[in-house]
């Protein structure tokens, strides 16, 4: 449908959101991601029945962990949408980009002082 959305998103393809692992999420932040979101199917529509429920539990666990370690849990989010909902994906992409812009770049970057221009245009 060629809907335009923010170009700050990089997509990692998985067969199902149920494949996501706590470490992969944490690793993304450690590597420098400013924000991560997991897009799974609508609740109850998962082709593999429970994949997206498990993903939501794991994402919530990691969100709690991120709060505890000072990174901030809002940088990670789980969304549920179906393959047919192009407009919803674009909306999420823009919404998440705005949220991360508000939160600012990944705090680890400030610490390690070298700025990558990934988020160059962030106000």
């Amino acid at each position: 449908m060629r809907l335009q959305y923010s170009p700050n998103i990089r997509i990692v393809e998985m067969p199902c959101s149920g494949t996501i692992d706590h470490r992969v999420l944490l690793q993304a932040f450690e590597d420098g991601a400013d924000g991560v979101f997991v897009a799974g199917c609508m609740e109850g529509d998962c082709h593999f029945q429970k994949g997206n429920y498990r993903a939501k539990k794991r994402v919530n666990a990691v969100k709690k962990l991120l709060d505890e370690i000072g990174m901030g849990g809002e940088r990670l989010e789980m969304y549920n949408l179906s393959a047919a909902m192009g407009p919803r994906f674009a909306e999420i992409a823009n919404e998440m980009t705005e949220r991360i812009r508000r939160l600012g770049p990944n705090p680890l970057k400030k610490q390690s002082a070298e700025t990558t221009e990934k988020e160059g245009d962030v106000a």
Binding site: R2, Q4, Y5, P7, P15, G18, F48, A55, T116
Partner: protein, 991 residues
């Protein structure tokens, strides 16, 4: 197979996959028919070429399909099972095997002539290839315009050009013939008042498609051919060459309303400046699945103007802009005049004279418009046994219906030749798989332009340059169309030359193109799993159109991530599984029974499950088909055939309890306890008539639904017999916010009911209150017959619906006449409501059992609206009939045969190969903590000797267990954690 449009291609693929040798005869130099000329297709806005090219390549490369281009059938003799077909192949003057499609010859050729493919707007040389992804990927010489200068011969290094080629006559011996030669577009120059051919800014819709298309003469840049200016105001005129008795084209061409909306929407997308689009129409006929939503979105959100007025004439303004002026009448009779930069004529479809000539020779009966209308209630049959029809040649129709009819024709031909299955076919051999274990990764990166779809936004050379110095990359190159046949050949050659053991393609969506590239990688001797795709089109160029530099930046990142993952890819062994040669058909209506019979005739066992005690479904309540067919007698002998067929076992009065297994090996338990083993499933659970809440339904015994009215009429109910005034109201429950879809059959049915009422009592007053009369195709003749017989048609709109009131015992209907603009007050004796067709509640439960999705309206969601209308995404499960969506009996029968045709492509195989992406347990790390056993919905993991073990054939590859195994003993092949982590690491590490 006569004609290689989408119908010919689909039918050939289905038959070849079911074990039959197919001769595909195409009169033009390349297969593909009209679809390659289209820019986008409705209602998904997929690029037509992108969804077609995998099928083109699959059909082109298929061992069991022999394609004859530039060939026409001249004669067919013999009887079903043994036909001799004479075909005449015109010389191509280029040897197809030698020609690499490199195009040097065309460069050298001095002759420029208008290109037929580009509808005469673009140009081509005397030696040309119809279009980029054409199959066969070879050039052809157009002798009329060739001046025999020999320049092409010199330029051709492959020595493929041979001017001495002559016409050949070839004789083929076949068992069945499928005629699907497509249609011819109506030539609007004969309607002088539109000025086509006289005014340069009046174009046909197909010409406009070429202007919109990225492979078109202007590379998708929307300009007027006349002065290359970008138009600001475009008008579409509907019913050009359709619904016109004056030129004996009284039928409706069924597709023009939808393609006009699509062209308007896509044109808006192509123009930087705001573009005003207007469609002049009589009835907006968006009756297919998802069409109404598409129309509403175009109208309400995308600002396409719809003006209900048939255009009298187009005149040209005097100044040199040659813009066009249209003087048209509004619905209230006032006159408006507007100027447009461009007018597109939505030309209809008509049979091509050459084909009609062939049909006459074959003794095929054509209808009064020259179409080969199928024998009633057969979907694909003709008056000649053994000869079937499919596609727009049988009636003007849309691509999904064409594909359904093609699969149905394939199914019908297959069942005719059931014994000969598998006798003439060859298996596909692959070279032995190279052992790459232990080798350091050597990655090849192939970046695609996809015409301008990627190249116009993402700076492809920059991406290739970046990819060249990524770790482990030994080759990086760019391709205009990575999916086209020549690029595939180049890829194989480069894998050989550079000794690649990993391949990355940066192009479009893996969903449509991964299998195609994996096939090529496998043909080059590499395991299919050593391949990964970066989607730099749907995730970059398409969605960041107006930010090219950011899109290029993102494309580079995606390639970096995928290359990092590619380095870690390991070969995955293929696991084969047997196929139970039996089918489960759910639903004993006409669709279910037709599918069951088709499969049974093919020699497979069929379990037909019906929740009622007797077969028949909703068809039990239908007396006459839309064309007057006797439905009850047809239904009874269908039931008789099913009950008596040795291969069919009917399970009545029972439903599905539980489902296990996967394609080829399903085990289903019924509520009566029986356990069935089968290889495929066809869901044909039908539809239910909506119980209206409007128009006093239920509060007066004189308000019927259509089915009730037909039953009462046939039974001679006194309420009907002595009624004098009838009011039929359309769109009751359909095209409403709660059910934003058209139930498609009610207009045809109301017209038929009105005719029946008039026939019974000519002096009766019959009113039909409608929003759009959607009697598409040849149903339009019945609409005209109803008007001639004095049925009153009054249009209402959503804001001003008819008012039905009870007034001292009688029903009063008030509606505003759409021409005179004054209210009409009708004392109705009988009111018939065109109640919607809704999805049965049981669909939700079935969707859970088989894990197949529903769309928002509750009907089952097919794998692809355009090209896989009867398949589900999960393998081995198909659908037919009202379960897919509202359609009439004829169309349901075609879809039922199509589902059987598709299912037989699986049942005809002895074993299936699993797709390989499954979870694996590293036994020594497993603490047998039972997490995986408890989590897996498919019961794939079992604990054996103190550690978990996953049954590869049961595992669906979802990775839920891998994500939660506490000791990381389970990994999902192809998607291991360290692969995903390597992608994020690569993303943020500066190269």
């Amino acid at each position: 197979m006569v004609g290689a449009g989408i119908a010919g291609i689909q039918a050939s693929l289905d038959l070849a996959e079911s074990g039959y040798l197919v001769y595909l005869v195409e009169s033009s130099p390349a297969i593909g028919g009209t679809m390659p000329m289209l820019d986008k297709t409705f209602p998904t806005n997929d690029c037509s070429m992108c969804i077609l090219s995998p099928k083109l390549v699959e059909c082109g490369r298929h061992l069991n399909i022999k394609t004859y281009t530039c060939a026409d059938v001249v004669d067919v003799q013999g009887e079903p099972g043994n036909f001799t077909v004479i075909i005449r192949q015109r010389p191509r003057y280029v040897d197809v095997d030698k020609c690499k499609g490199c195009g040097e010859c065309a460069e050298a050729c001095p002759i420029d002539v208008p290109s037929e493919f580009d509808q005469g707007i673009g140009e081509r040389k005397a030696i040309y290839k119809p279009y980029a992804q054409a199959f066969p990927n070879a050039y052809v010489i157009d002798k009329e315009n060739c001046i025999e200068c020999g320049a092409c011969e010199e330029a051709c290094q492959a020595g493929a050009i041979d001017h001495s080629m002559e016409e050949e006559t070839i004789e083929l011996n076949v068992g069945a013939v499928v005629l699907c030669p497509g249609f011819q577009k109506f030539d609007p120059s004969q309607l002088t008042y539109y000025g086509y051919g006289k005014y340069p800014n009046v174009l046909t819709s197909l010409e406009f498609e070429r202007i919109l298309s990225a492979s078109g003469p202007f590379q998708g840049h929307l300009v007027r051919p006349y002065d290359k200016k970008e138009p600001r105001r475009i008008a579409w005129i509907q019913c050009v060459g359709s619904r016109n008795c004056r030129i004996d084209h009284g039928y409706c061409s069924s597709v023009c309303c939808m393609y006009a909306i699509k062209e308007a929407v896509i044109a808006k997308e192509h123009s930087k400046e705001p573009l005003e689009t207007t469609i002049f129409y009589m009835d907006m006929r968006t009756y297919g699945k998802g069409f109404e939503k598409y129309y509403n979105r175009a109208k309400d959100e995308q600002g396409v103007r719809f003006i209900r007025s048939r255009i009298y004439e187009i005149s040209e303004v005097e100044d040199e802009s040659k813009n066009l002026r249209i003087r048209y009448a509004n619905e209230d009779g006032t006159i408006s005049e507007e100027e447009f930069d461009l007018v597109v004529l939505s030309v209809g479809l008509e049979p091509s004279p050459g084909v009609m000539e062939l049909c006459r020779k074959l003794g095929l009966t054509l209808n009064k418009y020259g179409f080969a209308e199928p024998a009633p209630l057969t979907g694909v049959g003709t008056n000649k046994p053994g000869i079937f029809v499919a596609g727009a040649f049988s009636a003007p129709k849309d691509i999904p219906e064409t594909v359904m009819q093609a699969s149905a024709a394939a199914g019908a031909s297959a069942s005719l030749l059931a014994e000969a299955r598998g006798t003439l076919v060859k298996e596909k051999e692959f070279p032995p798989e190279k052992d790459v274990s232990g080798q350091a990764p050597r990655i090849g990166v192939f970046v695609c332009h996809c015409g301008v779809n990627i190249g116009s936004v993402v700076n492809v050379p920059e991406v290739v340059e970046m990819a060249r110095n990524l770790p482990n990359v030994v080759y990086a190159g760019e391709y205009l169309y990575a999916c086209s046949q020549d690029s595939q050949a180049a890829m194989k050659q480069i894998i050989e030359e550079y000794g690649l053991n990993r391949v990355v393609v940066a192009s479009c969506s893996p969903r449509t193109h991964k299998p195609l590239f994996q096939e090529t990688v496998r043909e080059a001797g590499l395991n299919r799993a050593l391949f990964e795709m970066a989607n730099i089109r749907d995730q970059c160029s398409w969605v960041h159109m107006h930010e090219p530099d950011k899109a290029t930046e993102k494309a580079k990142d995606l390639v970096k991530m995928v290359v990092a993952k590619a380095a870690l890819l390991e070969p995955i062994p293929q696991v084969a599984a047997g196929v139970t040669k039996a089918a489960l058909v759910i639903g004993g209506g006409v669709s279910g029974m037709t599918s069951a019979l088709s499969l049974a005739d093919l020699g497979y066992r069929v379990h037909l499950v019906e929740k009622e005690q007797q077969l028949g479904g909703v068809a039990r309540r239908i007396r006459h088909g839309l064309k007057g067919e006797e439905v009850q007698s047809f239904l009874n002998d269908l039931v008789a055939k099913v009950m008596s067929h040795p291969n069919i076992e009917v399970h009545a009065g029972t439903e599905i309890q539980a489902v296990a297994g996967y394609v080829g090996n399903f085990i289903t338990t019924l509520t009566n306890g029986k356990e069935l083993q089968h290889g495929v499933v066809i869901i044909a659970t039908g539809g239910v008539e909506y119980k209206p809440t409007e128009y006093l339904y239920g509060e007066s015994d004189r308000v019927f639904t259509q089915l009730e009215l037909e039953e009462a009429l046939v039974a001679g109910d006194p309420r009907i017999e002595n009624a004098k005034t009838f009011v039929l109201i359309q769109c009751v429950g359909s095209r409403e916010p709660e059910r934003p879809y058209c139930s498609r059959v009610c207009c045809g049915k109301s017209v038929k009911l009105a005719l029946k009422l008039k026939e019974k009592n000519p002096s009766a007053n019959v009113f039909v209150l409608y929003r759009d009369i959607r009697t598409y195709g040849f149903l339009e003749d019945y609409y005209q017959e109803a008007r001639r017989k004095g049925v009153f048609f009054i249009r209402y709109n959503l804001e001003n619906k008819p008012l039905v009131e009870k007034e001292d015992g009688s029903l009063k209907v008030t509606v505003t006449d759409h021409v005179l603009g004054v209210p009409v007050v009708i004392e109705a004796d009988v009111i018939g409501l065109a109640a919607a067709i809704v999805a049965p509640e049981s669909n939700r439960q079935l969707s859970q059992l088989f894990k197949v999705p529903l769309n928002e309206d509750g009907f089952f969601l097919e794998a692809h609206m355009k090209l896989r209308p009867v398949d589900f995404t999960s393998e081995g499960i198909f659908m037919a009939g009202l379960a897919h969506g509202p359609k009439n009996l004829e169309e349901n029968i075609a879809q039922a045969k199509a589902a059987a045709g598709r299912a037989s492509t699986i049942l005809s195989k002895d074993h299936l190969e699993s797709h390989g992406v499954v979870a694996v347990v590293q036994q020594d790390k497993c603490a047998a903590c039972l997490t995986c056993v408890r989590l897996c919905p498919y019961n794939a993991p079992k604990i054996r000797n103190y550690a978990a073990e996953i049954e590869p054939l049961l595992c669906q590859g979802c990775g839920t267990c891998a994500g939660e195994c506490p000791n990381k003993a389970i990994t999902l092949q192809g998607y291991k954690d360290h692969m995903q982590m390597s992608m994020s690491k690569a993303l943020f590490r500066e190269v």
